[in-house]
């Protein structure tokens, strides 16, 4: 057997069980033990004999079951008003950052800073609006600022070998401070009425589209664009490649650093947009609490949807289903009258359960 340092290592999830595991690597901290209990194969408590189609369509099935369960418990669930409300809530919280997080996780990284960057977006939008800069600037400038923050993370991660968890943790801490500095007055109220309703306006007269709030339309467009980008463009394939086997991708001549920087920039950009929409909907910007724990929600969403934390496997559609599952789940909690604490408990159990059911590291 070749010594560790010389052996070209394929991604841990696909490693044959007799190769030694090298330390380090982007996904190592996030990777579970590939050989639990024995050096030669699986001894884990779950079974690997699940039907393949269950793994493919399991999350969609879970979503359907959840929707049925919720509509049974509460007959109002499937009404137009409620669906619109649920979708809007989803789109205004973690839908957009879920897309960015999915892209980052697909490269084998992780972005813990999205919540704080969202706060930067919301606070800068609030401050800009209050100083009379107009809607266009209030959308563009925060997004730009957040993209720069994301780019900073990406550059540090790509050019140094430091793990994404540490870098984005540091950026998260710093970005929270940036948000607090921007909104130095604390919770900031937005006075401009047009801006406040922006996220929830419908284009009334237009049929069908007129029924859907603007934020939902925007989110849908972004999901479609991201899905197209990931599945049908060269850059999208590069993202999968980097996540699947970074060394091989680098040796194949693909600019791995640029790909990594790109995904973090996109993540920051979308977090900024999410922040602006968030501020618009709430008509306030709270630098301390905006986006708090949103990063965990976005990771949960991506993971429940079936994307592997090691990168290289997953997709936007899966992430969408994961997000919808969480949304319906939260609606179920509220409809069933469970208090906040139970929601938290169930949230944790479900995320862990979803990952366990996927076979630990997701399907490759």
């Amino acid at each position: 057997m070749k010594p560790n340092s010389a052996a070209p290592r394929s991604s841990p999830g696909a490693r044959p069980p007799d190769q030694p595991i090298a330390p380090g690597g982007a996904g190592n901290l996030l990777a579970g033990s590939p050989s639990a209990g024995g050096a030669m194969g699986r001894n884990a408590l779950y079974t690997t004999h699940m039907l393949p189609w269950l793994q493919r369509y399991g999350s969609f099935l879970a979503l359907v079951i959840l929707v049925i369960a919720t509509s049974v418990i509460s007959p109002n669930f499937l009404t137009e008003l409620n669906i619109r409300l649920q979708l809007q809530t989803f789109c205004l919280s973690y839908a957009l950052i879920g897309v960015g997080q999915a892209l980052v996780i697909l490269t084998g990284g992780i972005d813990l800073s999205v919540g704080a960057v969202l706060a930067v977006g919301s606070c800068s939008a609030a401050v800009l609006m209050n100083n009379g800069y107009g809607t266009v600037v209030a959308f563009a400038l925060p997004m730009l600022l957040c993209a720069v923050l994301g780019g900073f993370s990406g550059v540090v991660i790509a050019k140094t070998g430091i793990q994404p968890i540490v870098v984005t943790l540091a950026v998260m801490i710093a970005a929270r401070g940036v948000a607090e500095t921007i909104a130095s007055a604390g919770v900031t109220y937005i006075q401009d009425q047009n801006f406040i309703t922006y996220a929830t306006t419908n284009y009334g007269p237009i049929p069908i589209i007129g029924l859907i709030p603007m934020s939902v339309i925007l989110t849908a467009i972004i999901y479609l664009a991201a899905g197209f980008f990931l599945a049908r463009t060269v850059a999208g394939r590069y993202i999968f490649a980097v996540g699947g086997n970074e060394r091989a991708t680098r040796l194949a001549g693909i600019p791995v650093d640029r790909v990594k920087i790109l995904v973090y920039v996109i993540s920051g950009l979308l977090a900024g947009l999410a922040g602006v929409l968030y501020a618009s909907h709430n008509s306030t910007a709270d630098p301390f609490n905006d986006g708090l724990y949103f990063e965990l929600q976005s990771i949960a969403m991506v993971v429940v949807g079936g994307t592997s934390l090691l990168g290289g496997s997953g997709g936007i559609g899966k992430t969408l289903i994961g997000g919808l599952i969480l949304t319906v789940l939260y609606a179920l909690f509220i409809q069933a009258g469970w208090p906040t604490q139970t929601q938290l408990i169930a949230n944790g159990v479900i995320v862990a359960g979803a990952v366990i059911l996927q076979g630990g590291l997701g399907r490759r």
Binding site: N4, S5, A6, R9, P20, I21, A22, P23, G24, G25, N28, L29, A31, G32, S33, S35, A36, A39, R42, A44, L45, V156, T160, G161, I162, I165, V166, V167, L169, A170, V171, M172, A174, A175, R176, G177, V178, E180, T181, S184, E246, R247, A248, R250, L251, L296, L309, P339, T340, Q341, L344, I345, N347, G348, V349, V351, A352, V355, G360, L361
Partner: protein
């Protein structure tokens, strides 16, 4: 070169292995980066503010650091084994709750129950991590959520039992139980106002350093973190080590919760929110690699000091707390970059760059002659 009959190395070898003073210094700097940063920071702070090195301020610092210190110790074990524990903040709240709730039965009962309960939580973490292939990040993330929900639930149950319909309000420590003294009594034999909580934290540091260095369990933790398959093949009981590591992490988080409850004289169910991140930051700054297998308690102490001194000096100088946050993030990043990138890139010996082979291609592997 004639071979020489000497008990020591032949002369040509000695010439080849002579280390220049510059290389020695650089090697020292790389190994002790965090410590040097800390020393510089302390010097800078004492120059910036005359209040920095006063007994009062040191006492305050020690007080704040007691809780975080124990938490960072608890975080060190999972990180050394190659994992991570995101749930320590929520487990702290659970520990605080149990300590406060049982405080009317005396200090001993409170401590024992709190440690047992949080130990069980950590045990569940450990079981999940050891026996499924789910990454520790996800399991402890789920536990963060679960434990937070549990602490909210318990708090509201406790309040409903005593008063009617109080909801999730903080549970108060029973007055007169002496529980407050657990962390608050100033130590009589030191010139500064350092409370006993700091002594407890110091004892935890010493105990952890001893365990990591002189017990086989400690060696096994490093082995599992360094190369898990190799450890398994060597006969290390990886499962037991992992379960133990997360159980201890839970118990230490519980101890931190006990100290917290003792200081605050109450146990709000929202205690410890985001504390886990500070613990991870302290451990990372202190030189423990997040991939596991490398780290020292001394380094963690230094990292903790760096992370805690910053808010302290900002308060003393009257600077806004906003910039404090930014500075903390920047310092964390800077120290980590310094340790992991800049210094190893100078090709000095010392702590090797622990990046996987796919990260950079062939890395420079020429250690300085004579460097350890």
């Amino acid at each position: 070169m004639r071979s020489q009959q000497q008990p020591s190395e032949p002369e040509h070898l000695r010439a080849a292995t002579r280390v220049s003073p510059a290389a020695r210094v650089l090697s020292l700097v790389q190994r002790e980066t965090a410590l040097i940063v800390l020393v510089l920071l302390v010097i800078m702070c004492s120059l910036l503010s005359p209040h920095f090195l006063t007994g009062n301020n040191i006492g305050n610092l020690a007080d704040q650091m007691a809780v975080f210190g124990v938490l960072a110790c608890g975080q060190m074990l999972p990180i050394l084994s190659g994992g991570i524990d995101l749930s320590v903040g929520s487990v702290l709240a659970l520990g605080a709750f149990f300590a406060a709730a049982m405080s009317s039965h005396g200090i001993f009962a409170a401590v024992v129950v709190a440690l047992a309960a949080t130990g069980i939580v950590g045990f569940v973490n450990g079981i999940g991590i050891a026996y499924t292939r789910v990454p520790p990040f996800i399991i402890t993330l789920a536990m963060l959520s679960i434990a937070r929900g549990l602490s909210l639930q318990f708090a509201s149950m406790a309040n409903n039992a005593s008063t009617s319909g109080a909801g999730a309000a903080p549970v108060s420590v029973a007055p007169g139980s002496g529980f407050q003294n657990v962390a608050e009594t100033p130590l009589p034999f030191l010139p500064w106002n350092i409370p006993s909580g700091a002594l407890i934290a110091a004892l935890v540091f010493v105990a952890l350093a001893f365990v990591l260095r002189y017990t086989s369990f400690g060696r096994h933790v490093f082995a599992v973190g360094g190369n898990e398959a190799a450890a398994m093949l060597l006969g290390v009981r990886v499962h037991r080590v992992k379960i133990a590591v997360y159980t201890f992490s839970g118990m230490l988080a519980g101890l931190a919760g006990i100290l917290y409850a003792s200081r605050q004289v109450s146990a709000p169910p929202t205690a410890g929110v985001t504390y886990e991140l500070d613990a991870i930051a302290a451990v990372a700054v202190g030189g423990t690699l997040l991939t596991g297998g490398v780290g020292t308690v001394r380094g963690t102490v230094v990292g903790l000091l760096i992370i805690q001194i910053l808010p302290n000096i900002f308060n003393l100088l009257g600077l806004g707390s906003n910039w404090q946050q930014v500075a903390r993030g920047v310092v964390l990043l800077a120290v980590v970059i310094l340790q992991m990138v800049i210094l190893p890139a100078l090709s000095i010996g010392g702590i090797p760059m622990r990046r996987g082979p796919e990260a950079r291609g062939p890395a420079p592997t020429t250690p300085a002659p004579g460097a350890t």
